[in-house]
Point group: C2
Chain length 323, copies 2
């Protein structure tokens, strides 16, 4: 388990339970499926989405088994989207491991993602979740998919704007954060106002999380960060720091660099420099801060309990990553 | 509408209603989705699955709106699997039109299939379908996915056997036929024995349908048929006629031909000839006949009504295609 949750051993135990549910559900008569999906789980990330779902459920009365199953579904939906995104992005590594598409080929990755989707629906149909929750989860799924498609359609700076960027990340990142908290609370039969508020906390935290991720790509000096920015550029994804920097690109130097078919190391460094110089980072930071504040304000108004403290601390930690 | 249902104008009207539900549900703010999916619908096939679902519902009491929506879901699930299969098969044409992957690229086809899946779940969550039906549909979906993965894993004659072939087509073809009839009957609250029987009719008809399709690839002399067989061979898919022919391949000539990296027209003709000569066609026909008989026997035992007559006639027509 990622050390992110080290201060909360009880939560780690629950996340391990979620992991073991996922492990059960990626088993099939084709053992290659388990083989290809397991590394993603084992070398996993922070399991933010299932953790938030579990924490949100603590504001009501919950059936642990149903909640853990739902948390597993949310993480598997996330994994399914990662597997398919890696096909589009031609990504070789994810969480330090070979991606399914790189190790087993794109064809196989199409089916692996589909298999994960199918298993999610089986897991949702297994318990008597409320029809509203199923509706909301399927709506969130469409939002994620639409976010990815919009991002793909607007590559290479086509209609690059704050508005379109917000539209993309609302779908591809914030929708799953929002539904994680919302569905956890809804399944635990929380009061409607708390459920809605938790959903909005998820949305705002998810927005800030993605903007910060995109800022980190341009603000670090390390090789890793440079590579990450380069990968986005090569895919043609213009993120917020770049969108803002282009608005201040008086002499057109940045635009000219971006038009290059391939970029040398020196050119990448220049792009990073220009994004900083043209206020791309600062302005993007201001937007991230706005979403962070909204999340924190809403958290403060939640009823006092241990889960509230953990949500507050983890959102702070997540959204104060150095940039 | 395909002329297959020309004798049943009332059914055609209902299938047109299903089509218009699908059209509504492929609309989104990204117009390219509708553009890429529409041709598949307009130049559509026989719409067998939604037709069978509607016919099965006639054995009970049904809410037409819910049934038509469910029929649309089944056709869209089918379309989603076609879009993703075309990526794997590198297929250029489907129903006489460019495939999504050929016209818009593989990356885009991944998302288009995902979008169709997402819309299906939205449509299922929109009405109060029975939880059992949702469970059965999601199980069928997993079967389809597993059938495709097994087919992919067993390419190039790896463990080619009747048993594995049956396993593959049970998933990739028969499961969706079975659930179409089953779900239609179940939603119309038919007696359990009728619902089960309709499901089995779908399964057996689906099995026969796929085997006949695979036989037609080897039994025709036309250019089209030769091409179709070649495509399967190039993908490494060994279908039943070939599996049986290899069992009689005493001198190893067929096996040797199959090992060629690329095949000339003369070699393809020789393969088709050997598949016939080695009893591949006749033995596969016997298996198809067995499934056809099972379907027809079960249909005969259904309560008399117009839907029964239409199912009987259409299954006969479908499974007596010339081979």
């Amino acid at each position: 388990m990622n050390k992110f949750w080290n201060d909360y051993p009880a939560l780690i135990e629950e996340l391990n339970e979620v992991k073991s549910i996922i492990k059960q559900n990626i088993k099939s008569r084709e053992s290659i499926l388990e083989e290809s999906i397991s590394p993603m789980l084992e070398n996993g990330g922070k399991m933010l989405r299932p953790a938030f779902l579990i924490l949100a459920s603590r504001f009501g009365e919950c059936d642990l088994e149903k909640i853990h199953n739902l948390a597993a579904v949310i993480e598997m939906l996330h994994m399914a989207t990662l597997v398919h995104d890696d096909i589009i992005d031609d990504a070789k590594l994810r969480r330090g491991c070979d991606t399914v598409q790189h190790k087993y080929g794109k064809d196989y990755a199409v089916y692996t993602g589909d298999f994960l989707f199918c298993q999610c629906f089986n897991m949702l149909a297994k318990y008597d979740y409320s029809m509203e929750n199923l509706r909301d989860i399927s709506k969130a799924l469409t939002k994620i998919c639409m976010g990815e498609i919009t991002q793909y359609n607007l590559r290479y700076g086509k209609n690059a704007s704050l508005r379109n960027y917000i539209r993309i990340i609302s779908g591809k990142t914030a929708a799953l954060f929002a539904i994680s908290l919302y569905a956890g609370a809804h399944e635990a039969k929380c009061h409607e106002s708390i459920t809605n508020s938790l959903g909005k906390i998820g949305y705002n935290a998810g927005m800030a999380f993605q903007i910060i991720d995109d800022i980190l790509d341009f603000s670090g000096n390390t090789e890793r960060l440079g590579k990450s920015a380069l990968r986005d550029l090569q895919k043609g994804y213009y993120t917020l720091p770049l969108i803002y920097a282009l608005e201040n690109d008086k002499d057109g130097r940045l635009k000219k660099l971006l038009n290059n078919e391939s970029l040398s190391e020196i050119e990448i460094e220049e792009i990073i420099l220009l994004v900083n110089k043209n206020s791309g980072i600062n302005r993007a930071k201001a937007v991230a801060d706005k979403y962070t504040e909204r999340a924190i304000e809403r958290i403060a108004k939640l009823p006092d309990c241990e889960a509230k403290e953990i949500i507050a601390a983890s959102v702070q930690k997540l959204l104060n990553r150095e940039y």
